[in-house]
Symmetry: C2
Subunit: 118 residues, 2 copies
DNA sequence: GCAATATATCAGGTTATCTTGATATGATCT
DNA sequence: AGATCATATCAAGATAACCTGATATATTGC
C-alpha cells in the first residue's frame, strides 16, 4: 500500500521533458559509448580490459566511462588495483536491442541523413 | 520461400555497426525532433500545425522534419496545399516510451552529466 | 616512504550540430 | 499569368561534443 503510494508519487515525477530525453539519447549517440556498453552488457569488466578491447587512448575510454556512470547506467566497484564497471539499469539492454532492430530496417535511410554526420 | 530467403539475406545485412546505432540515437538526441515526433505519434499533422504547436521559426521545424524523413521514421503526403507528416515506423513509439521510462528513473543522474550539455 | 600500476581529470584544438534569416520551389486560386 | 500560401533549402555564425596529451589521484608491493 505504501508501495502503491510511492509508485504514484514516482509516476508524477515521471514524464520528463524532451530536453532530458534528448540528453539521454545523446548519451547513446556516440559509437565509443555504445561499444563500451555492449562490452559491459556482455559482463562486468575492468577499465584496462575495455581499453584493450577498443584499442583507444586511455583518457578517451575513461571519459566515456565517466559519462556512462554519471548518467547512472553503470556502476563501479574497486577490486584491488582495478575498477570494475557493470551495467546497473537492466533496461539498457532492451533499448539498445530495440534500436538495433529499427536501425537494421532503416540502415540505408539513416546512413543517408546529411543532417547527422557519421 | 522467396520470402524466407529474402529474410535471411536481410538478416545478414542486419547487425548494424555502432556507428549507425549512434547516428540513430543522435537522431533522437534533439529536443525539437522529439517534440515533433511526439506530436506526430499523436496523429499525422501538417507542417503548419507543427509550427504552431512549437512556436518556432518555420525553417527550424522544416529542417528537423527533413531529418526525420531522411531517417525513414516519418513519411509525407501532399493534401492540396499542405503536406502531412506521419510516423511510419511503429517501433518509434516503443523506443521513445522505453527511453522515457529509463529517464524517469535516472533524471537526476542524467541531468548532472557534465559531458553532455542541456 | 617510494616506485609502479590503474584510473581519473583537465585544457586546447577540431569537428559536428543547431539556429536563423534569406531565398527558392511548388501548388492553388483568380 | 500573376499573386499568394505552404514548405524546403542554403549559408553563416554560434554552440556543443569529441579527442588527445599531459597531469593528477589512489592503491598496491617493496
Amino acid at each position: 500500500m505504501a508501495t502503491a503510494k510511492a509508485r504514484a508519487i514516482a509516476s508524477i515525477s515521471h514524464a520528463p521533458g524532451e530536453t532530458l530525453l534528448a540528453k539521454f539519447a545523446r548519451g547513446l549517440g556516440d559509437p565509443t559509448r555504445l561499444r563500451i556498453l555492449q562490452l559491459l552488457l556482455d559482463r562486468p569488466r575492468s577499465v584496462s580490459e575495455i581499453i584493450d578491447h577498443l584499442s583507444m587512448p586511455q583518457s578517451r575510454v575513461s571519459n566515456h566511462l565517466a559519462c556512462l556512470k554519471w548518467c547512472g547506467y553503470v556502476a563501479t566497484e574497486r577490486q584491488g588495483r582495478v575498477i570494475i564497471y557493470r551495467v546497473i539499469d537492466r533496461r539498457m539492454r532492451a533499448v539498445i536491442e530495440l534500436i538495433r532492430e529499427i536501425v537494421a530496417d532503416n540502415a540505408a535511410h539513416i546512413a543517408s541523413c546529411a543532417r547527422i554526420g557519421d
